[in-house]
Symmetry: C3
Subunit: 259 residues, 3 copies
């Protein structure tokens, strides 16, 4: 589901982005020698954004029983097999810069934002899931939940340009689908209703914004551009560009009004 | 409080369960050589379910200042001193398979579900607490909160057949008691009301279901089979088999109606 | 903002506190030899509370790419450059003992409470932020969020005598300010409204109490002594000593009544 993502005029190409990231790192390493070794091994030692991102994720997801070298190889293989995974990673990076007022540098998101790293790790797990490598995908889901406090089932479909801000406690279920340009704050749940089979989880349209602590339950559809206020519980469909709040959520603005 | 747990006809004996887990691991190791070493060291190298579970928990709870070998020994000693701790661990494993639609294999819960691992770690801490090993029990509580994002006071009493789904952010206070067959989603709080002494936390009956983000405060009693909808705040007793939702929660179905 | 913090008659001086902590550790090491090595390296091997706290935080925040020795040095430098950081750390320790009924020993908070450790780590990051060491401060913010599940922007201003109970999922934004003697439970958000520049986050007065899962959004002011019930969403100012609950929160008691 990626028709919603649009490259903005100020977005960088992959080469420009990689060069910008390296410049940011060099400046930080000069300003703060304490971080020089970290910045070198994480970014400056690598030949491409793919290698650097694979290294960063592998170090976060490694455990006493799963080595970072294995994980780095797995991620690099995915980026080589399917270049759209890295395109989505770049779209997400631009999304953080576009939409998070507390972030004005690419390295900050790449190196430090667990929401960004959780989504990129999920993209690896999802690729493996689709190719039938189920045991490995489920292990990655578990490690993502431990390391980033974000629990996304590897089968969940996630668009481009995604922002998970703060990210702690996000839960996204097996049959959920998320469009492009979706922003969600921490503690958001896209959960099952506990009944039925087939699609059991929410279908979230392009450009939807879900506030802190929002819970959406069951196979409901949130139309493109819908917004849900913090702490709300949504158990029904929402029309495109509507605004809903409360427990349970009620619509307080419809499309025409919210323009 | 374990009269509520009933072994279902399809539940396996300990020997059957251990054999099934080993079979699942062997199949995964064949299918995914990347995981072979992890699966061997976690499961296949061990002689019993007790040893394997002690190894898994010890590796998750280890820290630079508390070694996995120490932790493994502590867990094995508890399983030997009180076989009911392992019986509860098996009941919880069956509960995950029975009630989580996203889980159809024992190894998935045993190796990967932080909710399952948090409850098993709490059972160890609770055993130590009851025997006066307070400092060690409190340290385990802290490590459980760090590693699994689940904060259960070691004094809290927890029945059998417990499912903590997703688990991030669960908080269970010192004088809480939880019956058998209880299911709770992530972000559930069984908290104190901040006043009084003695029992300050909720008493949760057999078979209760608490949705994502439910907060129950104070020494209230949730009757057997009660259900609370996502995001609700409960500050009063709930009758058996009633259904409550909202902030504050109001009962929307009583026992007769909810049958 | 520290005029609100008052030393209580039963509070210990730094020397008394350090001696009490060492006594607690010696007793625990005698009672539980399993912990002797941990207690020795964390507390008893050090010459001062500053050294011990720096060691404890450094071990929690260390990562494969940031060494505990570096972090310990950074923290010790901050304590030496600005003694008020350690004064605040002591006030927070007294606050936990004063206000958390489940905690009756200093070592429990110091060694085990992630809310306490998150606040102390933030105080280090904030000191670095004010001195322009932005890259290092942001890296610490990221490690605090990973290790303690508490996301506090390093620019946020935090008073003395702070209790973060359980702490999982707390999020505090860039322009938030928190007075003295503030208590907040887990899942509390002091978030931005997403609009405007300048001050975008809540200003929380002395002695405010925020229950589990409370979300406060935008540049609102919570007057001194205000209380907000669990699960509430606050988007307006609250008068001093008022009590508010609900989604959205409405005031249920005003100052005169709540006395």
């Amino acid at each position: 589901p990626s028709e919603g993502w649009r490259t903005q005029p100020h977005h960088l190409s992959k080469e420009q982005l990689w060069e910008r990231i390296r410049q940011e790192c060099k400046r930080d390493a000069d300003d703060e020698p304490t971080l020089a070794s970290f910045l070198y091994s994480s970014i400056l030692a690598h030949k491409s954004l793919e290698q650097a991102l694979a290294f960063v994720l592998a170090n976060k997801l490694a455990s006493p029983t799963l080595y970072s070298t294995q994980l780095k190889q797995i991620a690099e293989d995915v980026y080589r097999e399917d270049p759209s995974v890295m395109e989505a990673a770049m779209a997400d990076l631009h999304a953080v810069l576009d939409r998070d007022p507390a972030c004005d540098r690419y390295t900050q998101a790449l190196l430090h934002f667990k929401g960004y790293q959780a989504v990129q790790s999920h993209r690896i797990a999802h690729h493996l899931w689709l190719r039938g490598r189920r045991a490995l995908a489920l292990m990655l889901q578990s490690r993502i939940s431990e390391a980033f406090h974000v629990d996304i089932h590897p089968a969940a479909r996630v668009g481009r340009g995604i922002l998970l801000d703060h990210a702690t406690g996000v839960v996204i279920g097996e049959t959920a689908a998320i469009g492009d340009n979706v922003s969600m704050l921490h503690h958001v749940t896209l959960g099952g209703s506990g009944i039925g089979s087939g699609v059991r989880h929410p279908q979230v349209g392009h450009g939807v914004l879900l506030g802190a602590g929002v819970t959406v339950l069951g196979p409901v559809t949130l139309g493109p551009g819908a917004k849900v206020g913090a702490g709300s519980v949504v158990v029904t469909d929402l029309e495109p560009h509507s605004v809903a709040v409360g427990v349970p959520a009620r619509v307080i603005k419809r499309a025409a009004e919210s323009e």
